[in-house]
Amino acid sequence: MSDLMKTYPILKIIDHGPGLRSLYFEKTFEVQPGQFINLWLPGVDEKPFSVSRITADFIEVSIKAYGPFSQAIMQCQPGQRLGLRGPFGRPFSWHNNALLIGGGIGIAPLRILGDTLSQKGFNFSYLIGAVTAHELLFPEEMKRQAATRIYTDDGSLGKKGRVTADIEQILDSEKIEFVYAAGPEIMFVVLKPILDQRRLPYEFCMERYMKCGIGICGQCVLDDSGIRLCVEGPVLNQDDLKQVTELGSVHRDASGRRVR
């Protein structure tokens, strides 16, 4: 694929629950786990989305209903054409004995990562959480693939509590040599000191407002590092994050204003 815009028909849609669905497109390009594409819904808008799976035949993106764009995606029908460009960004690196932590829609990029790690024969386990059961992506597929711990805020599936509730105990009782995490930023804020303290290497898949996806508009640049999340991210490791002072405190909106 390329940075140029091209539209493709939606091959198939799977609704996981209210306001949570996966769209499938013909596989016309390669994607590495953690990379994202820009999805254009003609007449509406264009936004970045992690690729959640790739097979010999299709590319999958998984989308949660939120504001105007993602709500409009919930109305899409198979056959409808959407624009795809990318893949953009730096992918996850691959490690053995890893823990894959996903919160909410952040589970999406962990799915393609898990597929890749298992193809490589690496050991790993999942730790996933969401507000409630029907907001959890792929729990059954994950369980079939690896040991999977599930948390929901309301206890409707798995343990009741935040996905990070028992993290220290898990890290200290199991052979975990690498941690991947994707989800809301508060998760990274909780995890970072815990991982740093144990000197565990890690990669977080982050989000910032993105306009171009190609490293020129400056919208996604992180203080004070100058890292362009769309090019040098969205996956950042513990060394990259040393220079990032805005983690968990500010990000910038569509105008570039700082919001807390």
Binding site: W40, P42, D45, E46, K47, K211, G215, V221
Partner: protein
């Protein structure tokens, strides 16, 4: 070899990051300087923040970019904060790019930033992407452009140089540049994006940009930019920041031969990556060695002889 003085600013290289490219925050601009760029220009800003147009707003095509960001910016107060941050972290050159929805607003924004001592105030009167909202750019009218030049120069005073950023459209860029010079401009930045243009998706049969039209930049506009700089050089004595389509060292050399003192680089940061400044520097040094030029001065404007 490439060290360049521009008014009071000392640039390591004659390259200027063009406005709208990685120019929103101090951290972003400092990183670009660390990659060998000589000076940075901020994203153009006005008094009130603006979200800009919906996406797609920046669209690559085979020979460049089509963009209709819509002058999104966090507003003057936020940019004042970023420029102050920048100044507290480095003394390398920063050019502040300003615009206004009205002639008065250019003055208000200039008032906001003179205290920060930017190395230059660049006045954007030529953005082609906000027509539906603002009407024709001020830069299409010599009278309006003259009035804005006087207003901003008055506020900037003698110690902060003012560069008027022009487009290739309107009544002729040489004439426009002369109107700027006659009204106190210290420099001309030429050019802004070209067009506007449009690209259509042939399968959904709709314009791709949310704004439908957008300014063209990158390799596609190099010949227009070189010719514009050539024309401005003949029309005025003040220095030129030659911008538009510069992707390789040969492109940058053309700009200098046409008369540019500094070379603006925008889309090439996408085409070649943020490392592009090293590539440009190496190529120009090579050229200078080949022809025995000691400084950029030695070959500036030579295409006119």
């Amino acid at each position: 070899m490439l060290k360049t003085r521009f008014f009071k600013a000392e640039l390591e290289t004659p390259f200027v990051l063009a406005s709208g490219i990685l120019g929103l925050t101090a951290s972003s601009m400092i990183r670009v300087l660390d990659f060998g760029c000589g000076a940075v220009t901020t994203k153009s800003f006005n008094m009130e923040w603006r979200k800009g147009h919906k996406a797609p707003s920046i669209l690559p095509f085979e020979n460049g970019l089509l963009n209709a960001v819509g002058l999104s910016n966090p507003g003057a107060d936020e940019m004042v904060r970023e420029i102050s941050q920048f100044k507290s972290r480095t003394n390398r050159p920063l050019f502040a790019s300003i615009f206004g929805r009205t002639i008065d607003e250019f003055g208000q924004v200039a008032e906001k930033i003179v205290g920060l001592q930017p190395d230059l105030i660049e006045v954007n009167v030529s953005c082609p992407n906000v027509r539906s909202e603002f009407g024709r750019p001020f830069g299409d009218s010599p009278q309006d452009t003259a009035a804005i030049t006087r207003l901003v120069k008055n506020i900037a005073g003698s110690h902060i140089p003012v560069s008027m950023k022009l487009g290739p459209h309107g009544p002729g860029i040489g004439l426009m540049a002369k109107a700027c010079e006659d009204n106190g401009a210290d420099a001309i930045t030429a050019i802004n994006t070209v067009g506007p243009g449009m690209l259509i998706d042939i399968d959904v049969r709709k314009p791709i940009l949310a704004n439908k039209t957008g300014g063209v930049s990158g390799p596609a506009i190099l010949p227009i930019a070189v010719k514009s700089v050539y024309e401005v050089y003949q029309a005025v004595k003040i220095p030129i920041i030659g911008t538009g389509g510069v992707t390789t060292a040969a492109d940058a050399i053309q700009m200098i031969l046409a008369g540019a003192s500094l070379v603006g680089v925008g889309t090439a940061v996408y085409e070649r990556g943020i490392e592009v400044f090293h590539e440009l520097a190496a190529g120009i040094e090579n050229y200078m060695t080949t022809y025995g030029f000691k400084t950029i001065e030695d070959f500036r404007g030579l295409a006119h002889e």
